[in-house]
């Protein structure tokens, strides 16, 4: 079984008629995802990729019974598109757009508080339940069906880690790219809880990176909840290039809790197994499962 998506997931694409929207919608259809239509204001009533195009998310949802939306509109309109989907009570919204302004995302997060939507992203690679449903831009071919959940803040590393986990002989229940931006929807911790509640997920791989405090929040949760499945974490950015700093305020809010070493320490203290290097993720999980069994 998978989290977030399943064989009944019916997807519309906001921005389907654009170049990237067309390319990835077609790839999703080829993968077997039930794409049921697209949204492009002003193009309602036309067809694209053999599917109906609607002016609004609400009309697309009413007409097609869609229960998920992929947002593939340019950054300047991405927040409005996400908010439109949230207001249309779309259960799942996966936002792929990169470079959405932060103040726009504050408005999106506020809309989420008043709605029922689960938002993945923005700047997400998408959600992939092997052989069942793909929403997003990830490379496929390296995935296989199985019992490992993968939850990743990094878009580019997600396909890599997925392929590695497969190469170690382990399939995935679902791979979720929660998005690399500082403000996004579903958090690391919330995504982890979904995996924890899924009876078909027997272990979780967490891919984190420097910045923010989500890894630390996840560590706190794991320390408290003591999940009965192995958790393997890869934290990248131990040797990231130095960034120039402007003022002092960032430090007041996040403190020193956002470098790679601090994240690794927090997760290790919570009982998470750290993959020492990016190429060791698959075998680390393999070993962890053997010890568990």
């Amino acid at each position: 079984m998978s989290i977030l998506v399943d064989a009944d997931t019916r997807v519309i694409c906001q921005g389907m008629t654009g170049r990237a929207g067309t390319h990835y919608s077609a790839a999703m259809i080829a993968y077997g995802t039930r794409v049921v239509g697209g949204v492009r204001p002003g193009r309602g009533g036309s067809r694209h990729l053999g599917l109906p195009v609607f002016d609004t998310v609400a009309s697309a949802k009413a007409d097609t019974g869609a229960n998920a939306s992929m947002v593939f509109v340019p950054p300047e309109n991405a927040a409005a598109a996400m908010i439109e989907a949230i207001e249309a009570e779309m259960p799942l919204v996966v936002a792929l757009t990169e470079r959405v302004p932060l103040q726009d995302m504050i408005r999106v997060r506020d809309a989420l508080k008043h709605g029922t939507t689960t938002l993945i992203g923005p700047n997400s690679q998408g959600v992939l339940a092997p052989g069942v449903c793909k929403i997003g831009v990830m490379a496929t071919g390296g995935e296989r069906s199985g019992h490992i959940g993968i939850l990743s803040r990094s878009a580019s590393l997600t396909s890599e880690v997925t392929a590695q986990v497969s190469a170690a002989g382990l399939g995935q229940s679902t791979t979720v790219g929660i998005g690399g931006d500082a403000i996004h929807g579903l958090s690391m911790r919330a995504c982890f809880e979904l995996f924890l509640a899924d009876p078909e997920t027997h272990g979780v791989v967490v891919v984190g990176e420097i910045g923010g405090i989500e890894e630390e929040e996840l560590a706190d949760f794991i320390a408290d909840s003591r999940p009965d499945m192995p958790v393997v974490a890869l934290i990248v950015g131990r040797h990231a290039p130095e960034r120039r700093r402007m003022g002092h305020s960032g430090a007041f809010i996040e403190g020193a809790r956002n470098d790679a070493a601090g994240k690794i320490r927090a997760l290790e203290n919570a009982g998470v197994i750290i993959a020492e290097s990016p190429h060791l993720v698959g075998e680390t999980m393999q070993r962890a499962l053997l010890i568990e069994a």
Partner: protein, 391 residues
């Protein structure tokens, strides 16, 4: 995008926030004439660089006559200023701000910023302004008060904040007005940080921003062409700018292995692995999904032109819009165009990895093909050290 102090102050003044009167100067004579024209005896001569920590690094000089202002400016201009926030290379001082020395009764710390963990805009305020506020805070010598802007940016409880800061009751209404002005400036310009430190309360009972730092969200610059025009990239790395114009994120580093990846996370992972293998990256180059093979070729040319680069490591996981063959074509075009080569270790996975190998052959590119990531990394490190002096 970091605004410089004089740019920040010009912007804040448009929102009615008081700043000391001052003038930008490009030479000692300029500074002296400026101080005289403004009628300043005591003034501060401040190096204009886009980073904090200038006071502690002698980038701010207090003087008591226009002549002294001229002399101080002459000393600062042309110097490279290194502070705890600039990185080791520092910034060349090309301009100074000559500014009225304001008599302050006391000073505050005041900032508006995006608290990304809570997805909120927050106001932070401290009862004393100082450059070493971070240290003072850690050692418990001072404190920071916090106020969260309600959704939509509504400002509540300014009165309570003024009280917590111990502000005289007569100042409360002007403090609330200042917060409102700051909030508007923050939101209208897509700022991620506005920091006034120190914020003086003058003997006359007004608030004056003695220093101001503003950071604008790069992702929102499409809404602010006026701010983009303020960008002074003379101090930025020419190579980084060139890469930027070709859909490549590039950061210069000080090692000898050129690194090419697609995606920031994969890039960070690659740097970690190079360090783990005792190698040193010369750069971080991330090919964005929108890059064409010609863009990629320009990127490779930058590496081939860099004499410090002794080997090149290409670690790519091809996706939908950016399959491996585009990277192969880019490398092929760059090698053909420049006539230069380096030992190039290529690790390709994902979409069109096989086809990319065929493209390499077509271009006559000699590359070292490593199917696994760790093997590719160690090979790149070996190739670089074989060509370098002992380290």
């Amino acid at each position: 995008m970091n605004l410089q102090e004089f740019q920040s102050k010009t912007l804040l003044a448009r929102y009615g926030i008081d700043v000391p009167k001052g003038r930008l100067a490009l030479s000692g004579d300029d500074a002296q004439a400026g101080a005289r024209a403004l009628g300043l005896e005591r003034s501060a001569v401040k190096a204009q660089v886009p980073a904090g920590g200038r006071g502690r690094s002698k980038g701010v000089v207090l003087v008591s006559s226009p002549e002294e202002a001229g002399a101080a400016a002459r000393r600062l201009l042309g110097e490279t200023l290194v502070t705890e926030q600039t990185g080791p290379a520092g910034y060349l001082v090309r301009q100074v701000l000559v500014e009225e020395a304001v008599e302050a009764d006391r000073s505050l710390y005041l900032a508006v910023l995006i608290d990304t963990a809570r997805a909120e805009i927050a106001i932070l305020a401290g009862p004393e302004g100082s450059e070493d506020i971070e240290d003072k805070l850690q050692s418990g010598q001072t404190r920071i008060e916090r106020l969260t802007l309600a959704p939509g940016g509504a400002l509540n409880e300014t009165e309570a904040l003024a009280q917590r800061l111990g502000l005289d009751a007569r100042l409360h209404s002007s403090f609330a007005r200042l917060l409102g002005q700051l909030r508007t400036a923050f939101m209208e310009n897509d700022a991620t940080l506005i920091e006034l430190n120190p914020l003086a309360i003058t003997t006359a009972g007004t608030f004056v921003a003695l220093d101001a730092k503003i950071v604008i969200d790069d992702n929102a610059l499409f809404r602010h062409p006026d701010l983009v025009a303020l960008r002074d990239d003379r101090e930025d790395d020419g190579v980084e700018i060139a890469a930027q114009s070709h859909q490549l994120n590039y950061v210069r580093m000080d090692g000898d292995i050129g690194v090419v990846v697609n995606g920031a996370g994969l890039g960070l992972a690659t740097l970690d692995m190079i360090r783990a293998a005792n190698g040193r990256p010369a750069n971080f180059m991330d090919i964005r999904t929108t890059a064409t093979s010609i863009d990629v070729a320009h990127g490779f040319a930058l590496l081939l032109d860099n004499p410090a680069v002794r080997s090149i490591l290409v670690n790519v996981h091809g996706g939908g819009m950016q399959p491996c063959d585009i990277i192969a074509d880019g490398l092929g075009i760059a090698m053909r165009r420049t006539g230069k080569a380096r030992p190039t270790i290529v690790r390709l996975a994902g979409n069109n990895a096989e086809y990319a190998r065929f493209r390499f052959q077509n271009f006559g590119c000699k590359v070292i093909d490593c199917p696994d990531m760790w093997g590719a990394v160690t090979r790149a490190v070996d190739e670089a050290s074989a060509r370098g002096e002992s380290r």
